[in-house]
């Protein structure tokens, strides 16, 4: 399936992916408005920094996802396209997924005062069209592509 990949050689640590993510999932059409009116979503991608290396982290959409297995409420599921989705109506905020994700990619949603989690859904449920982080990365460090992995 097509996934988001990050190459740390080219990640500049500009953090723009985070902002584009928050905007893409805000439902707004103007980025400034989304942030000015505090309507931006919590970013589901996070740039890790340190020692000259930067790396943006977000859900890998694992073939055999531990988060889905561990979810006690059935809120996390894998679609037929392989995207791991969150149903926030079902999420009870137990954070089992947060603990079980080996990549640390599940985000406790501050917009919901931590009562639910949120996560990358490859922009399949917003109007961005394709993952906004990859589309707007200024150095093609984040790419959305098919690499033949299941």
């Amino acid at each position: 399936m097509k996934r988001v990949y990050v190459n740390e050689d080219w990640c500049l640590g500009c953090h723009l992916c985070e902002f584009y993510c928050g905007f893409a999932n805000s439902g707004e059409t103007d980025m400034a408005k989304a942030y000015k009116l505090d309507r931006a979503a919590a970013p589901r991608i996070r740039v890790e920094e340190g020692d000259g290396i930067n790396f943006a982290v977000q859900c890998r959409h694992c073939t055999d996802p531990l988060c889905v297995k561990g979810c006690i409420a059935g809120a996390l599921s894998k679609t037929k396209d392989g995207v791991i989705e969150i149903n926030t109506d079902k999420c009870v905020g137990c954070y089992t997924c947060v603990l079980s994700c080996p990549y640390g990619c599940i985000v406790i949603d501050p917009k919901n005062n931590g009562r639910t989690i949120t996560k990358c859904e490859l922009c399949t449920r917003n109007s961005a069209g394709e993952p906004a982080c990859a589309a707007n990365c200024p150095n093609r460090a984040i790419v959305f592509e098919e690499r033949g992995e299941a």
Partner: protein
């Protein structure tokens, strides 16, 4: 703190309604112009550090930023311009030679813009390059002056070594050191994909790039940085750099700050030392010495590669070129004074040399008058800015052109002319690892390929309009050009008629 005699050159204008305080500008500015102030909860800027490279403007996700010239004005004088006054203040403060980068910004005549191109009407059909073959392949090197036959009467088709270009555009010399490794990789990969050549410049060839050798021109300059047998063997051609259009008469100067580990290894000089190329080659004090260097390099490379001699366009360029053509060089590259540089003394960049258009026209005519135009190919360089400049250069007599500034633009450069500071925010003219990584060679190479493809299409379109279907029929075809607003003397030197004639 002493009085600052002059204000910031630029002003950062931030639209508070748009700024979302993402701080991308702050993270991206190597000059530390932008910063977040917690008390105000606002982004602020230190305008005096801004060089107008436009990196922040391009990355700002909400379009909240603008950089504009500081409108603060000294009392106007046509003689002592504000720029001149600031330069004097600066020198009074430092006691130093002024340094500049890229081509001169001064308002000299640009002859490309005073030349118009012909097109077919009625008597001769224009050709549609989308429907008919249209050829831009070029060979650079010495041509035979007549047919030689083998003992059996067949034609001897052996040629002296030459370069074969799929498009009449090559990437001009920019050394590793003056530009980054990623910039070099972008150029090397693009040249390979395009079927043309890039030029190492005088800084040697990084070991990772030997694999691009078949599309590499290796340069030998007065500093001889990084020159050794493997280097000469690696390239498709060897270029002797006698001069550079932006700074005729002086050598290059790469500050020690740019000589980090890899650059030091590639240049074969100690880390942190300034790399200073002597003004002349100290083994070339005259034309006969040049001949010896040409043949030394040919010997060393077993006569398998053409040798290019690159000269700056200076007043007697035609005579010099004639001498070079008779000295065994296969190709002459002429670099006009509006060409770029990674660093040059400002007074030299802005005042020494002549425009490429006049130099090219004079050299081509001189070599023809002497009947030795076949001895060498001519490559025009030094501010070839667009496909139409290429067409005009070829029609004036060039076999091909070298471009450099447009390649930098393709990679992100915004001509802030601060290369010499080494803090290029676009990852091009810098060796700082955090800045170098801003240029992803996947992106750089692709954009370079796009640029040259686009130019090549335009060249074909313009040629088709003239009813020419192969670039060799454009070369030296000055009847296809007309001057506009030029004096008779200028027209005579360019060898063209005035529009309407």
């Amino acid at each position: 703190m002493p009085v600052n005699f002059f204000p910031a050159e630029f002003e950062v204008v931030r639209n508070a309604d748009k700024c979302i305080k993402c701080r991308a500008c702050e993270r991206q500015c190597s000059n530390e112009v932008h910063y977040y102030d917690a008390d105000y909860d606002k982004m602020l800027s230190k305008d005096s550090s801004c060089v107008d490279c436009q990196r922040c403007v391009c990355l700002c996700p909400t379009g909240a930023l603008k950089i504009r010239p500081n409108e603060n004005a000294f009392r106007k004088s046509a003689n002592y311009t504000q720029q001149l006054m600031i330069e004097n203040y600066r020198q009074a403060g430092t006691g130093a030679v002024l340094l500049s980068s890229m081509g001169t910004p001064k308002d000299y005549p640009i002859y490309w813009d005073k030349i118009l191109i012909n097109a077919s009407q009625v008597t001769n059909p224009s050709i549609d390059p989308l429907r008919e073959p249209m050829e831009t392949k070029v060979f650079l090197g010495k041509k035979p002056s007549g047919i030689k036959k083998n003992p059996d009467g067949s034609i001897n088709t052996e040629m002296t070594p030459y370069l074969e270009l799929n498009t009449p555009i090559m990437f001009s010399a920019m050394s590793y050191g003056s530009i980054s490794k990623n910039a070099h990789e972008s150029l090397a990969r693009a040249a390979t994909e395009l079927g043309t050549y890039y030029n190492t410049g005088e800084g040697g060839l990084h070991k990772d790039f030997y694999k691009y050798g078949p599309n590499t021109i290796v340069q030998v300059a007065s500093g001889r940085f990084g020159v050794f047998k493997d280097y000469l063997d690696a390239g498709a051609a060897i270029e002797i750099k006698m001069g550079q259009g932006a700074k005729p008469g002086i050598g290059g100067h790469l500050p020690g700050a740019k000589i980090r580990e890899d650059v030091s290894k590639t240049r074969m000089i100690p880390m942190g030392t300034d790399a200073i190329s002597p003004a002349p080659h100290h083994d070339i004090y005259s034309i006969e010495d040049l001949r010896q260097l040409i043949f030394s390099l040919k010997e060393a490379s077993e006569y398998k590669k053409p040798v290019i001699v690159k000269i700056a366009a200076v007043h007697n360029v035609a005579a010099i070129a004639s001498g070079i053509a008779r000295s065994g060089a296969d190709i002459i590259a002429i670099d006009g004074f509006r060409g770029g540089t990674g660093a040059a003394p400002t007074r030299i960049r802005d005042n020494v040399g002549i425009p490429i258009e006049l130099a090219l026209a004079a050299v081509d005519q001189r070599l023809r008058d002497e009947g030795i135009r076949n001895e060498v190919s001519i490559v025009a360089a030094g501010s070839v800015r667009s496909a139409s400049d290429c067409v005009k250069a070829i029609a004036l007599g060039a076999d091909a052109v070298y471009i450099a500034t447009p390649t930098l633009l393709a990679m992100g450069c915004h001509l802030c002319r601060s290369c010499h500071a080494g803090k290029c925010n676009w990852g091009i003219a810098t060796q700082r690892p955090d800045l170098v990584k801003r240029l992803n060679p996947d992106v750089g190479a692709q954009r370079l390929v796009n640029l040259v493809h686009a130019w090549d299409h335009e060249i074909k379109e313009i040629m088709g309009g003239m009813g020419i279907n192969s670039v060799e029929s454009l070369r030296g075809n000055r009847l296809m050009l007309r001057g506009i607003g030029l004096s008779q003397k200028e027209l005579d030197i360019l060898g063209i008629l005035h529009a309407g004639e």
